[in-house]
Symmetry: C2
Subunit: 340 residues, 2 copies
Amino acid sequence: MRIGEFGEFELIRRIGTFLPGPPGDVVVGIGDDVAVLNVSGPEYLLATCDAQVENIHFIRAATTPYQLGRKIVAINVSDIAACGGRPKWALVSLALTPDTGVDFVDGLYAGMQEEIHAAGASIVGGNLSGIRGEIVIDLSLLGTVSPECLILRNGARSGDLVLVTGTLGESRAGLELILRPELEVEQEAGDRVRARHLTPGARLREGRILAATGSIHAMADVSDGVLGDLGHICRASEVQAEIWPESLPISPECLRVAEVARCDAVQWALSGGEDYELLFTADPRRVPEIRGRLEAETGTSCHVIGRITGKGEAVLVRSREGMSSDYGRGPAGWDHFRAG
Amino acid sequence: MRIGEFGEFELIRRIGTFLPGPPGDVVVGIGDDVAVLNVSGPEYLLATCDAQVENIHFIRAATTPYQLGRKIVAINVSDIAACGGRPKWALVSLALTPDTGVDFVDGLYAGMQEEIHAAGASIVGGNLSGIRGEIVIDLSLLGTVSPECLILRNGARSGDLVLVTGTLGESRAGLELILRPELEVEQEAGDRVRARHLTPGARLREGRILAATGSIHAMADVSDGVLGDLGHICRASEVQAEIWPESLPISPECLRVAEVARCDAVQWALSGGEDYELLFTADPRRVPEIRGRLEAETGTSCHVIGRITGKGEAVLVRSREGMSSDYGRGPAGWDHFRAG
């Protein structure tokens, strides 16, 4: 069977089954976005990697090397943020075609350096390789977290509310404008959503503040789409959840682009992916305090978008009043091998 | 200018110049094969990454996924070995075409798992991505080393002898047989050199024993070819070296393949690359003890192949008696962007 039929997440599960259980110094191993490792120091080590592949994640004509550099760092920082951690050191592995301009490499490193510096981390090494086909930029990011601040995917509890920072769907709206340059929207809205796609920000401070509240049960960043990433939380926590489509935070700019593109902004918010917001669950009684503290310390708002309903592992999309929705179980989020 | 004209190592130097100096917790940063990081524990953290790119590093028809899995681990373990370290945790980033068979992934992980287990480490995470062109397998390996056992490239001193473990050139001989299947050599010789290319071993125990002698001034693994890797040591140490071609350890099997292929085994030994032997320098007075201890504890022999001659950064190939050699300065080793 080909992996295109098999699917990305099924393949990850399969890989997990034939690797042995992790040794004692591995707190969290394969299957999560971030590995958590015990280095016998005061803090745990966090390790994650994420790639940007030409013509899968980016098109060279539609992004600058600088933007690409910022993005590859931000998406990795976002994974560390979702654990409540602090990024420290990055390794950059590039596979480049010989015809790549030196200015491409210069721009890429300028973007990476700016974003890694803003995250309080540094580039400490890497690897350069040739490739004949398409460029691959692979970044591994190490971070640290104190054991009492570590938040994982697997702590969601029945009765928890599901919250998300910021807004959803804008990155997907930006992609739509990039793929369909003939669409006409107001400059400001267009610039905003394109920037959200090309140079997403990671919610690093927010992640640390949320973790420090001691009230977050499970957290992940929204990379595959809120439906897919809540699904990861549910499987890891062995719980079921519902998402309330009418509660999804969608910006006026995203709604405007969806209108012009004749697309469904709710669908974008559910499974467009690449939002890099933080998705988390918490006891309903603690939610007002969490929201207040996050907004006071960072200016970032967060919204309740659903709840953990009980045992299981599915995510249902239905209205808060229990009405079923046209979105049903919806698509499961971005799959690298099935996406066109 | 295109990176193909610029060259791999010039590009690495360029990148190094526009990144800021490393912060205090980075013991060794960009430019070395391995980053050395202070995690406030009793040991330093080591971090390295290396990739295998289809049609650059491997041809799918000429290797099994299992062999490829073993190789991607071994080449990273080799980098940790060359620091005197101990591998601990690996992240695997795969960019796969949708038509890749699930059995390819199964075989790849079986090979990686076997080799990582043998090295005393484990796979703790990674990333899966699609790609349209050629497969990329990228592995990041973390390890640890006690500060007193850490060996770097930059400690070579004038007067040191240059030594290498095992034999050189066999991997290149194996590649020749793979690229030219019409060549006829005795089965045993062919199998040996092909295996050396497809499933190289890392000198992990040897690295730790050499480091523990306290007598090694500089060490690197031979991935680019002994000429290229000694060049890295010389640049990092600001010294000049000479390699004695008549002293290079070349096996009868390698000589036989070179004879059949009408190639020069000495050239293969100098710059064929992918030998994954350990190349190191030491005070001449300590060399007999080092060689004896290494052979007694591992059964692996090592050979004196040259010496550090003084300040500078060049590597000259000339006979031990000071006669100049046809190899002159020779090619500088494998360059990913210049190689066909």
